[in-house]
């Protein structure tokens, strides 16, 4: 009687859904680890000792809270009041460290003895290597060969911090391929290893955990706006790669219906050229790296290569919560080209004495459009997600090409 099929219904989809998006589309081998992580995360939420340790490290080590700064000269140029949430002032130079400190604390709590991560711009790799050095855990980072080239300073930083960097040559040799390799490592070493995912992408619970660790950006910024501007902003603008800095700052304002939330994707060489990294604007619903969301893909369901001057935005997928915010209309998503990002990069250097990351420059490149629409009586808050030292070579090269 062994071969009679028992047609019981399989269980309901796991939690971690944002409308139809999210979920867990991974190999069976990884499913128990995702359960374990979910459980550890839920426990840590109710554990005052964990929260105290996290809070203390964010404050004394990472330098939180970060300022919200009124950018008067940029405001003058653009014609609205522009406020900058200064995540570039975090230790390691970007918001990524908010997440990695949290996740490495979780990894320790779960008794994991080895950490892996993927990285695009190298900021998440540096932030992971940093948290691992801080807590004494070995760290290996997967990075596309193309990104190893264009973000060389961050490769050196990771190595100095004691991490081993694996250059990934498969596919487009960028962030997507680095994540593929990290998943292959994880499926092999899952019993001992925590995979420290760097954005609000991946299978549940990562989009939830990373958003929650990044929500500190929005919580601080909301209080700072009320204190310094005396009101909530009219719009909040952030760049979107996987979407973690955007989800982090949006999280603080999601219930404030008067606040417009605007995510800026990379239009690369131009949407019309097909060489871009704008899945929310131009992609279709698909499943990549464990979650259902918008994805750049061919009509046959093969994932397309993304294109952006910015390594941290050069990814054909995006976090599932953004897909849901787009569908329900709570956030709007737009895109700006490499060229526009370069112009905005220079503008911020010139007007405010701040060198932004190329990723971040995409958010700034959309500000003129927001300012034009909202006018001189509007307050616009921008997530200044990271500093641009890592990008100097790329920028100088491009400016030379442009002449």
């Amino acid at each position: 009687m062994r071969y009679v099929p028992r047609l019981m219904q399989p269980p309901e989809p796991v939690s971690g859904r944002y409308g139809p998006y999210g979920g867990r589309y991974v190999a069976e081998t990884l499913m128990p680890a995702l359960d374990e992580l979910t459980h550890a995360y839920e426990e840590s939420q109710g554990d005052p000792a964990f929260q105290a340790e996290l809070g203390s490290l964010l404050h004394h080590y990472a330098g939180r809270e970060t300022p919200t700064y009124f950018a008067s000269r940029l405001s003058e140029e653009l014609g609205s009041r522009i406020w900058l949430k200064r995540e570039d002032l975090c230790h390691t130079g970007a918001h990524k460290v908010n997440n990695t400190i949290g996740q490495i604390l979780l990894a320790k709590r779960m008794g994991k003895t080895r950490i892996i991560a993927e990285t695009g711009a190298g900021q998440h790799g540096v932030a992971t290597a940093t948290a691992c050095a801080l807590m004494g855990l070995p760290c290996e980072v997967y990075m596309g060969a193309e990104d190893v080239r264009r973000q060389a300073p961050n490769v050196r930083r990771m190595e100095l911090l004691g991490a081993e960097v694996h250059s990934v040559t498969s596919g487009s040799a960028t962030l997507k391929d680095a994540m593929n390799e990290a998943l292959r490592d994880w499926v092999t070493n899952v019993r001992t290893t925590h995979y420290c995912v760097g954005s609000v992408a991946g299978p549940h619970p990562y989009p939830l955990i990373v958003r929650d660790f990044q929500a500190v950006i929005g919580q601080e910024a909301r209080a700072q706006m009320l204190e310094q501007a005396g009101r909530l902003p009219d719009a909040v603008v952030a760049c979107v790669g996987g979407g973690s800095n955007a989800m982090g700052i949006f999280a603080g304002f999601i219930d404030d219906e008067s606040v417009r939330l605007i995510g800026v994707e990379a239009a690369g060489e131009g949407i019309e050229t097909g060489r871009h990294a704008a899945p929310l604007c131009e992609g279709d619903v698909g499943v990549l790296h464990g979650a259902k969301s918008y994805v750049l893909q061919t009509p046959d369901g093969q994932i397309k290569e993304a294109h952006s001057i910015s390594a941290g935005l050069d990814y054909p997928g995006v976090g599932p919560e953004h897909a849901w915010l787009k569908d329900i209309g709570r956030a709007t998503y737009v895109s700006v080209t490499d060229d526009a990002a370069l112009d905005a990069f220079q503008q911020l250097c010139r007007t405010e004495g701040i060198i932004p990351a190329l990723e971040t420059s995409h958010a700034f490149a959309y500000l003129p459009a927001v300012a034009k629409e909202l006018g001189s009586d509007a307050d616009i808050l921008v997530c200044l997600s990271g500093r641009g030292d890592k990008d100097l070579e790329t920028v100088l090269q491009k400016l030379k090409e442009r002449g």
Binding site: R2, Y3, P10, R24, A27, M31, D300, G301, Q302
Partner: protein, 266 residues
């Protein structure tokens, strides 16, 4: 009873394990794939896992990654794979399990895929990144059409998840011999196949073991314990190493014949 369950039962009646052979559709090209399926079936394969290539095969090692890249570069699509299955059906009745990743399936449309797959003569689905929790949209229509849904159990699966896989299974369960990607070196096939055998007794349904099984010796190590043995990367590498499609067919014929000699229960 479907063709796949039937193949497992036949093997059991012959007091041996069933041989499951993985081929990546479109490597080196789809017409050779048809010849390879026929050759494998004639040389002793009981079931064919026909790989549908995907751009981002996160559960596969380098050999199957390269095969998928070659196949996609040649223009393989899921629709063309189904056409190939139709063409094969004029030549052999060997059960064909479509094996792949979820995004091409989602993009094709789950219900439409089930309809077209049934029409083409395919026998079922194994989707690497579609755990039981997420499988209702494909499994439901498949079961309605009499197609199989093959779930995976891994060394990390706990009793709850094993029960879940068992209840989603319609013919056999695929036991992954180790934590790793396809083509890795298996740490200890003997104890992995004992665990798979225990699982098979506990669940009362056939279990096939795969990952890390490359040679006739490997096959004879695991075959006494389980109802099915899967060989994938070793076959794909043989095809990669061949100088021509004809040579690939001849080499696969030789390899499958040899592997089949290890299937006995003793």
């Amino acid at each position: 009873m479907g063709r796949i369950a039937h193949a497992f039962e036949n093997a059991r009646n012959e007091n041996r394990a069933a041989l499951v052979i993985y081929l990546c559709a479109g490597d080196p090209d789809l017409s050779t794939t048809a010849d390879l399926v026929v050759a494998a079936a004639e040389s002793g394969a009981d079931v064919i896992e026909l790989g549908v290539p995907f751009s981002d095969p996160t559960a596969d090692g380098p050999a199957i990654q390269r095969a998928a890249e070659r196949s996609l570069a040649g223009g393989t699509t899921l629709a063309k794979v189904l056409d190939t299955v139709s063409a094969i059906r004029g030549r052999t009745d060997v059960p064909i399990l479509l094996f792949g990743y979820y995004n091409p399936i989602l993009s094709y449309g789950e219900q439409k895929l089930v309809d077209d797959a049934a029409q083409s003569g395919a026998d079922g689905f194994l989707v690497v990144n579609l755990p039981p929790e997420e499988s209702a949209g494909l499994r439901g229509p498949a079961v309605d059409k009499g197609l199989d849904f093959v779930p995976l159990v891994a060394p990390t699966s706990n009793p709850e998840r094993i029960a879940q896989a068992a209840s989603a299974a319609t013919s056999f369960i695929y036991y992954v011999s180790m934590t790793g990607v396809t083509g890795s070196k298996a740490a200890d096939l003997a104890s992995a196949s004992e665990r798979a055998g225990a699982l098979q007794r506990e669940l009362g349904r056939p279990v096939a073991i795969g990952f890390g099984i490359k040679t006739k010796e490997d096959v004879s190590t695991v075959a006494p314990h389980v109802d099915g043995v899967v060989v994938g990367s070793a076959v794909v590498r043989t095809i990669e190493d061949a100088a021509s499609p004809d040579e690939a067919v001849a080499s696969v014929r030789a390899l499958v014949s040899e592997l089949a000699q290890g299937l006995g229960r003793r």
